[in-house]
């Protein structure tokens, strides 16, 4: 039971990060039906910029509380990511808005490579150890001495995610620009006729998504303790999976999908070894029984397959419910 709760806590933490990144995918997709492949790399840029700011501030022995340093770093990363997101849209996606679908998709892949390699030039190939300046405090969740725990970092990640999601919902459903975004998503042409500056709305969508991505990057870096120039790729893929799971183009769906995916992945990684333990089959094979004597945890698949779960989920969703949990039907032609 303790393992279960622990995996659940880890899953929800991971899921919060996925959800925030997934929101960026889903907002852009909702408005211009483009999978912004480079979004994961915007997250990476956010993590890297924040890393540099933290490193500089810590190196300069600024007498600020650790929390303030992280907040400053994040506030620095957000505008950088927003600028990157805006530039991507302005330079590479806008000229192709009326092109066949394959063209912007290929451009997006190209941009993703460009961003990754720029990061590689700036920050190097080696994974950067994220400075653990905030002291980790562990809270026990159950009475068991080795039982499930939650750290202050996890609490912060989950809390900030909830606040950001709530803020986004308010922005989309309660403000004028939110109305404009929803109108553009429904029908860009008619929205334009109604006096909405469609280009501006699309730019703002990219900017908001990239701002969220920056925060997600800092959260991911602080949680795992490393940042790497390729971290955006797999994170982006998973966040996209989360967006599809929830129903792409649907904000609530992205949040739900992110959380679900995090939990599925965590529980999957935690239990796959147990489920595929080959020692239950010892009766069938003498060789197996011999190996199980030395290694009772002999399993067909271990937690090193964690990254596979997201893709399996993605494929299953696309087969059985392509519209996602909360979305509308999207399986029309490319």
């Amino acid at each position: 039971m303790d393992t279960f709760i622990q995996q659940l806590v880890n899953g929800v933490t991971l899921g919060s990060v996925y959800a925030i990144v997934a929101l960026g995918y889903t907002m852009v997709y909702g408005i211009i039906q483009l999978i912004n492949f480079a979004h994961g790399d915007v997250v990476m840029i956010g993590a890297m910029v924040a890393y540099s700011v933290i490193a500089v501030l810590v190196g300069a022995h600024v007498s600020l509380p650790p929390l303030a340093i992280v907040v400053i770093a994040t506030l620095f990363a957000i505008p950088v990511c927003m600028a990157v997101g805006y530039a991507l849209e302005r330079v590479a996606y806008r000229p192709l808005r009326n092109a066949p679908r394959l063209a912007p998709l290929i451009t997006a892949i190209g941009l993703s490579i460009v961003l990754e390699n720029i990061a590689l030039i700036i920050w190097g190939r080696a994974p950067l150890p994220y400075p653990q300046i905030i002291e980790t405090v562990t809270y026990r969740l159950t009475s068991h001495p080795d039982g499930a725990t939650i750290t202050n970092v996890q609490v912060a990640i989950i809390g900030i995610s909830i606040v950001m999601m709530a803020g986004l919902l308010v922005l989309i459903y309660r403000t004028k620009i939110g109305v404009a975004m929803r109108a553009t998503a429904q029908n860009a042409q008619v929205a334009g006729l109604m006096g909405i500056d469609v280009n501006r709305v699309i730019s703002i969508t990219f900017i908001i998504g990239s701002g969220l991505a920056a925060v997600a990057g800092v959260m991911d870096g602080s949680y795992y303790g490393v940042a790497h120039y390729q971290m955006g790729f797999i994170l982006g893929l998973k966040a996209f999976t989360a967006a599809v799971l929830g129903g792409i183009g649907n904000l609530g769906g992205a949040m739900l999908g992110g959380l679900l995916l995090g939990v599925i992945e965590s529980l999957g990684a935690g239990y796959v070894g147990e489920f595929t333990n080959l020692c239950h089959l010892s009766g069938w094979s003498h060789a197996l029984a011999l190996r199980c004597v030395s290694d009772p945890h002999l399993a067909l698949f271990g937690s090193n397959y964690q990254d596979v779960f997201a893709f399996v989920v993605l494929i299953l969703v696309l087969v059985f419910r392509p519209s996602g949990l909360l979305g509308e039907r999207v399986s029309d032609r490319a």
Partner: protein
Amino acid sequence: MHAFFDTRGRPALVWAGLALVAAALIALPWVLAGIGTAWVRITNLAVLYCFLALGLNIVVGFAGLLDLGYIAFYGVGAYVYALLASPQFGIHLPFWVILPLGALLACIFGMLLGAPTLKLRGDYLAIVTLGFGEIVRIFLNNLSTPFNLTNGPQGITLIDPFRLDGFSFAGTQHVFGQALTSPIKYYYFLVIVLLLVIVVNVRLQNSRIGRAWEAIREDEVAARAMGINTRNMKLLAYAMGASFGGIAGGMFSAMQGFISPESFVLVESIMVLSMVVLGGMGNVFGVVVGALMLSYIPEVLRYTVGPAQMAVFGRTLIDPEVFRMLLFGLALVLMMLFRPAGIVPSALRKRELEQVPADVG
């Protein structure tokens, strides 16, 4: 392009041209070997990339389905060859048995992946194939426990070279006083296969199937209304592309003698895609040009970028490898922005990519 093969007009001229090309292809490795054996190896890899790019071109160029995990099929073919012709399991089958097996398995993988996803929009397909490529790589990396199938990240070594009736493609023989080295032998084999593949591709494009693919790419609904079984046709494109990848993988395995999951990463998929896009999606010759360009340019860069930086800045600021990837990324973006149909555009593709649809979405 078909006219290129149409020798009815001026047969003598065309045959003379073909003879010239053939002579050049035969002489090429000896010239390159004069510069350095490394260049023959590089050429062999370039030919292999042509092969891969042509396979991907069937999927992306002909049928218009974006596949970002294409290298997985290459990996499947390579590992099939490696497992059936190496000391890993002590199995040593001849290559003409394994290559079709690899193609078949890659084809089955392609269909397994394609069947559930082909009814979806193109961009979903792109993501699923991307994920599939990653899954294959993760499995190759981890299938060393509990039973050692792939030897994990260490990869498989001592893979058999091609052998034909006692004639081995490894090692050096002397013919007419000239050293016939292993890369040169593979070169001739690869070029013959490549020419065959090019002919197959050109014929395929103008066949009933090729036209069906084209119709699907242009307008799937209309194609279905015209009686084309779109699902089967898309699946066929997928399976064919995958089997090309499988064969190329087998040849790669034999040529290198060593493979590891490192050779089948996403970057490779992107590189093959760049070749197709750069050369001209849907144009067989364009794709070959793209593949050759992107195979040789990095090698040239390797010899120029590093020294040039040393000369100007006194140290290496940008690793040639990074520079290469940066160029690939920029090439993808710039090509789509300024010349979406590629360097050697296919006529139809050009029309499609340059038109502005009426419904702005």
